[in-house]
Point group: C2
Chain length 190, copies 2
DNA sequence: TATTGACCAGGAAACAATTATGGTCATTCA
DNA sequence: TGAATGACCATAATTGTTTCCTGGTCAATA
């Protein structure tokens, strides 16, 4: 079997299980049944290997997000479904959840960097969806980059942050959807 | 002069200059020209003294925020002015800025707690302003608590967070105001 | 009765010693 | 002969130990 592929799988497993810092190259080599040196013929260093794994994950997330959309549904419905899907992915997917935790607790720089890149990726993704909806005439023209950013941050705030300070008062998905419909989404319509 | 007051002033000075952790009770006592024991006749412990100082600051912030409003101006104009004022206060006011930094860098629990309380206070403040505007018939009824939360988080995102990941592309206040007008504010109008 | 500062226990720094790890490269196969 | 390997190395992280600080107390004081 392809050595590069075995290494990728071993690394994905280890990063998911132990995070970035606690994953050692020896560990990855052993899981992949490969000499440590072999890893370095495919990846320049630990961080590049890590980036490759994260790239895979971002692709997975894009697929999951696309799968959450309904052909023919409104921009609001699909944007909501996509964002909720990505935030669910964020706390469900073993690797993503581990990285969020490691970024917050250990502050590993490589992890913080990668998390920022992922968020950028998500915002870009939303941005293209907004632009497509504008082209279709469903939304009126707007600063798509900023609106995408605002939408992402709003969902993060309501889905992720709110619970941290309002442990008692859980927000239902309907309440979130309702709030955003009556504020942001409606005003984006053409 | 009032001993309690001297202690408060000394503590305010020290917390502003050095933050929570790096302020020692001996330090405060010396600045206040008071025996250390005396502090404990007014405040149960360091944290209570700290809370008293922060309470003062929240009051200052409320005053500054009220001062930024214009009688007779629209809800949007005043809400924008208030929120910008409070976020400016956040990075301008020596104590607030120090606490934000200490919360992020040192993760001092007492500081993190207090920062959460301050944000709660700000959101409550916005909430009352929203409710007043609803009573006046300027805004249509809405989930004032959630809308206040969303507004605060949106401003934080655009004013504070954006710059961290888009160092090159500074957001002008006009662009921020424009974005929020065309999304959130307009849809709140009665 | 209000104030004080020497005093104390517990926890944080500072330092030293030990271990673990990312990355290299001479050697080894296939 | 060139891809694969793992012993090896410098450095970073961790652990253990000692010392120093600091929040809080309270007997002495004014």
């Amino acid at each position: 079997m392809d050595r590069r592929q075995e290494i990728l799988e071993a690394a994905a497993k280890s990063f998911s299980l132990f995070g970035y810092k606690a994953t050692t190259m020896d560990q990855v080599a052993k899981i992949a049944n490969v000499g440590k040196g072999t890893i370095y013929t495919f990846f320049a260093n630990k961080e590049e290997l890590f980036n490759a794994i994260v790239l895979q994950m971002v692709e997975e997330m894009r697929v999951a997000s696309d799968a959450a959309t309904v052909e023919g549904a409104s921009f609001e419905q699909n944007a909501h479904a996509r964002l909720m899907q990505m935030l669910k992915f964020r706390e469900t997917h073993q690797l993503y959840a581990k990285l969020v935790d490691e970024g917050k607790e250990l502050r590993t720089p490589a992890v913080i960097e990668v998390l920022a890149e992922i968020e950028n990726e998500i915002v870009s993704y939303i941005k293209t969806k907004i632009e497509r909806a504008i082209d279709k005439g469903e939304l009126k023209p707007c600063d798509s980059k900023l609106v995408a950013y605002l939408l992402f941050k709003s969902y993060m705030a309501l889905v992720v942050d709110w619970g941290k300070t309002h442990e008692d008062e859980e927000l239902s998905e309907e309440r979130i959807a309702g709030l955003l419909r009556s504020t942001i989404f409606t005003s984006l319509l053409a």
